[in-house]
């Protein structure tokens, strides 16, 4: 317990244009520990890390590395002092090889000639990767690698400078379960080698299985630090949101009616095959499966944004001809996509313009938009969803993740959908907003909307679904009722260990 911290940050204050974002915050990392930094979006986690690595200057307080006070003026200085960062967005150049990426900006040269020592860099790349227990060809184009492997390259690059502290910001956001396991192995290995790791994530399960200590920030204030084996999920959540959150998932209360949507043997060569399922009125159908199992592709096909080679979709018993998202939207199907920035929102347009997008034809006469009906619709949606913004004309770019997600949801509530598909609805959204989204889902089903929810978070699937469809390699592995489903059964079906759980529903 008396190990000297590598990094110690004390009494950190920071304001941006009069707005206090950090108030007297404390944080430290010891060698050989994994220390989670938690808090809702906007709590000040990233600002703390940016102060540590010299991207921002602190207003007050001290930062010391190995007992010596420091003030880095840029990330390069921090790197030299042994502090490396893996950002959420990977900094890999896709057309360069693994070795070229590994030595980017630090190329080995013959003296000052600028001529590269290619062979040596390849050799060293291989060594570094092997030290992490990764087998990879240094000559492979980085863009050809899976996201998980790209991340490994980045980790290897980060620690190649003999980093003593490694900061990881949401490293698992885009990884498959298997890749996450491999990543955790590497992280634990680094910990055992004495590296201090700062781990930022929203995923509770990960934090508890990986981290020694958990520090929580809320609204720029330091709330406290707990040992993960002496605290609980509920306690950490309470620290983060400042109040009892109650149950993690609200009770499902909606009345489930007759079959609303029926999908019959949807197929696309090489992607998915003979996928059939149905959703009833007021029901939430959870769709589980490993990343890459084809869940998103199936939903896109159903919605009309991806071509199918076979299959039929029935809504209220009527056969739908869906060739373009326009067709499904007109039939009353909404689709909240997984990636809200690239598929859900037009970032430089306003909340108003984004929310109106799927129903422009309803808000216009002979192609001329009606300001009044647009304004009314958007204002009612904003208050119904409690979107926090300066007004309907605020650019969605400047909203927080949770509020952006609400705009996306609002966009689809406007069409008064009969069926709403949600693909990873709470990814990158903090706990408070997650709960609001669950409540919205509940409220919708109470009104008779059918929901299809694709999710990679098993607790969410188990907590919210009335029935669970498990997809394995583009095929329906099984359908489980809420009562019979548990994590184990879902994982077994998702990994192809069939003959479990039966094929009911």
């Amino acid at each position: 317990m008396t190990v000297q911290p590598i990094v110690e940050m004390n009494h950190i204050h920071k304001s941006f244009v009069g707005n206090k974002v950090l108030k007297d915050v404390h944080f430290d990392v010891k060698p050989g520990e994994i220390h989670a930094l938690m808090g809702e979006n906007g709590a000040g986690k990233s600002t703390m890390m940016k102060i540590l690595t010299g991207i921002h200057k602190r207003d007050q307080g001290t930062v010391s590395v190995n007992g010596k006070e420091v003030a880095f003026s840029n990330p390069k200085e921090a790197e030299k002092a042994g502090i490396a960062v893996i950002h959420q967005e990977l900094n890999i150049i896709p057309y360069l090889t693994v070795a070229q990426n590994m030595f980017l900006g630090k190329e080995l040269k013959y003296g000052k000639t600028g001529v590269l020592k290619t062979k040596e860099m390849q050799q060293k790349t291989r060594e570094r990767l092997q030290r992490l227990g990764i087998d990879m060809d240094p000559d492979e184009e980085a863009g050809q690698l899976s996201v998980g492997k790209q991340q490994m390259v980045e980790i290897a690059r980060a620690i190649s400078t003999n980093a003593e502290v490694l900061v990881m910001d949401e490293p698992t956001a885009a990884l498959t379960d298997r890749e996450i396991e491999a990543l955790f192995k590497v992280i634990r290995q680094l910990r055992d080698q004495g590296v201090g790791i700062v781990y930022i994530s929203h995923r509770m399960e990960e934090i508890f299985s990986l981290c020694n200590r958990i520090s929580v920030l809320r609204d720029g204030e330091y709330i406290g630090t707990k040992y993960s084996n002496e605290t609980s999920f509920e306690e950490i959540v309470k620290m983060m949101v400042g109040r009892e959150l109650g149950q993690r998932f609200p009770d499902r209360t909606s009345e489930i009616g007759d079959t609303k949507l029926e999908v019959k043997s949807l197929s696309r060569d090489g992607w998915f095959e003979d996928v059939s399922f149905s959703v009833r009125k007021g029901e939430i159908l959870g769709v589980a499966g490993l990343m890459g199992a084809g869940r998103t592709e199936i939903m896109e096909a159903l919605f009309g944004s991806r071509k199918t080679s076979n299959g039929q979709v029935f809504l209220d018993g009527q056969h739908l001809k869906i060739k373009h998202p326009k067709d499904s939207i007109e039939a009353g199907i909404g689709f909240i996509t997984e990636d809200r920035k690239s598929e859900g929102l037009v970032l430089n347009l306003s909340i108003r313009e984004n929310m109106a997008l799927p129903m422009l034809s309803n808000l216009s006469n002979y192609g001329v938009l009606s300001n009044k009906s647009e304004q009314e619709l958007v204002e009612s949606l904003m208050s119904r969803l409690q979107v926090k913004a300066t007004g309907p004309d605020q650019e969605v770019k400047s909203l927080s993740g949770g509020n952006q997600q609400k705009v996306v949801i609002g966009k689809w509530l406007g069409i008064e959908p009969k069926v709403l598909i949600l693909d990873e609805p709470t990814r990158g959204v903090d706990i408070g907003a997650k709960k609001e989204i669950y409540h919205i889902m509940n409220e919708l089903t109470e009104r008779g909307v059918s929901i299809i929810m694709v999710s990679s978070e098993l607790p969410e699937v188990l907590g919210m679904s009335d029935r669970i469809l498990v997809i394995h390699e583009g095929k329906v592995a099984t359908t489980l009722s809420r009562e019979e489903a548990d994590q184990e059964k879902i994982m077994q079906a998702a990994t192809g260990q069939a003959a479990m759980g039966g094929n009911r529903g």
Binding site: V346, N348, L357, G367, L369
Partner: protein, 312 residues
Amino acid sequence: MNKSMTGMLQKLGPLLGFFVIVIILTFMSDNFLTLDNILVVLRQVSINALIAFGMTFVILTGGIDLSVGSTLALSGALTAGMLSSGMDPMLAVILGMLAGAAMGAFNGIVITKGKVAPFIATLATMTIFRGLTLVYTDGRPITGLSDSMSFKMIGQGYLFGIPVPAVLMTVAFAILFFILKKTVFGRQVYSIGGNEEASILSGIRADRVKIWVYSLTGLLSALAGIILTSRLNSAQPNVGVAFELDAIAAVVLGGTSLSGGRGWIFGTLVGALIIGVLNNGLNLLDVSSFFQQVVKGTVILLAVLMDRKKTA
């Protein structure tokens, strides 16, 4: 509040620049700020402005159209051909404009259905349309157009003392401003340029919208070509070379983002006026035509650099 203030300033920046140039030129030349000269400028500007209006739509969707100059030439030549064969002038003008729209539609189809990058597709059609113009005219001007007064009016006439091309430009501006601001189509143009994927997933038929946008640009280029044909009283096969550059310059000067999704057509009008006033003023000041290009390029560069500063 603050944000909308800076947004406003950013929008009015081009207008401010325009007035600065006007004031400087007024002091430097006695002949600049006279009614006659203003009308001359307006007539000169109208050709570029009409093309630039179309270009604004294209650029807002995130595309580019390099073929506008060739479209202008080919539609002008076709109209002249029809006129010299004795066709009714009204009909010839309408058919000429439809021909331009068809050329634009062809661009749009190649870009959307053929999935060719707009730069490449219109680079190719720029050459094709120019080649067709040369084939059609046999490389010689088409003269001996109709004696019809109404056709001559288009390029040479005045309406209430204002040159007809300037009137056409104003009418086109008003219609297009309304379309961008108030119609579903306008909203779709912005949203496609801002995020095409998200727009398609919101049920917008992005391909169709884009084909319409390129058709509109073709139509406006053809109108510009017809004005020019009327003014010169002949169709020149080599007219309109490099017109796309002035049009793009006007759009950029007006503050529309080349990456799409952001901008407005009023800016383009101001941008076209800046270019027109510069051309005219430098002529009045007897600046050599070689040096004029240096000045024009410098102004564009300055405008864009200042814009970058503001957004940074």
